[in-house]
Subunit: 142 residues, 2 copies
DNA sequence: TATTGTTATACTCTATAACTATA
DNA sequence: TATAGTTATAGAGTATAACAATA
């Protein structure tokens, strides 16, 4: 059990609060949160079997089937047969899908910049210095 | 894959990933994300008119009516008439609601802290150093 | 008239169970 | 038999529009 004034525990609480802050300040989107993180994931890791994508996103396989169907209907993703196992559908981003999440990322960066500008230079520097740590944190279990 | 040249763009991407990472590593809950942040908000700011709560959470007034009805059915919140304006319903936490949000918050913080402990001392130090900045960021617009 | 909140209705996203096809 | 994915069905949570009560 951790002590109540453990800085790590305080950090965890702050990150928890940060999550809900980010959620409230995200630009409204016709795509669901899962849809957006799925597109972002496909951009990072390339073509991925549907079931694996479902596990990574923490939703059921039928839910991912439905999501991929919607994304495909929007022209954002496509299916590719796996040459080694004909049961497998590999999901990949189309050019339109890649363009959309690039646009969304830069838009989010602009919004973030507005808020960052109100922070002190020391605060800004601290955040940039913490980037590798945040990166390692999210790759921890992946 | 996006080029990580712009630190601001990288920060946006990392925060994006952090959001979905925290979401995936949260303990499963019968309550929706909005339900949880609403309880948390009521715990922080006390009794709040329903419409104001809807605006703060970024959902419509009818959606908040439905959510509050569900929370009330679970015994987690209650309605209180506003003495000055009889149209207004002020929503407040019950003792059960307060207990639930406290338990969940500390559990979530513990889980996150476990992952933070696996990071290198340098990473941990960087995150702790960024704590005030994160705190300021989330209080920025509040 | 304007505001606070509810009711009516419809759509999206999710889950579990049953199914098809490949392995 | 086991695995990858789809289809069937149901429930939660959301929005917009129309309404009731109060200001």
């Amino acid at each position: 059990m951790t002590a109540p004034d453990d800085p790590l525990l305080e950090l965890a609480t702050t990150l928890d609060r940060l999550t809900s802050w980010i959620r409230r300040h995200s630009a409204p989107s016709p795509l669901s949160m899962t849809a957006r993180t799925t597109l972002s994931r496909l951009d990072e890791q390339g073509p991925t079997p549907l079931g694996e994508l479902a596990t990574q996103e923490g939703i059921s396989q039928p839910a991912m089937t439905g999501l991929v169907n919607r994304l495909e209907g929007l022209g954002l993703t496509a299916r590719e047969p796996d040459p080694d196992d004909r049961r497998v559908s590999r999901i990949l981003l189309t050019d339109a899908g890649r363009a959309l999440i690039a646009e969304r990322r830069s838009q989010r960066a602009r919004t973030l910049a507005e808020h960052l500008q109100r922070l002190s230079p020391a605060d800004q520097q601290a955040l940039v210095a913490a980037l590798p740590a945040l990166h390692h944190l999210t790759q921890d279990v992946s």
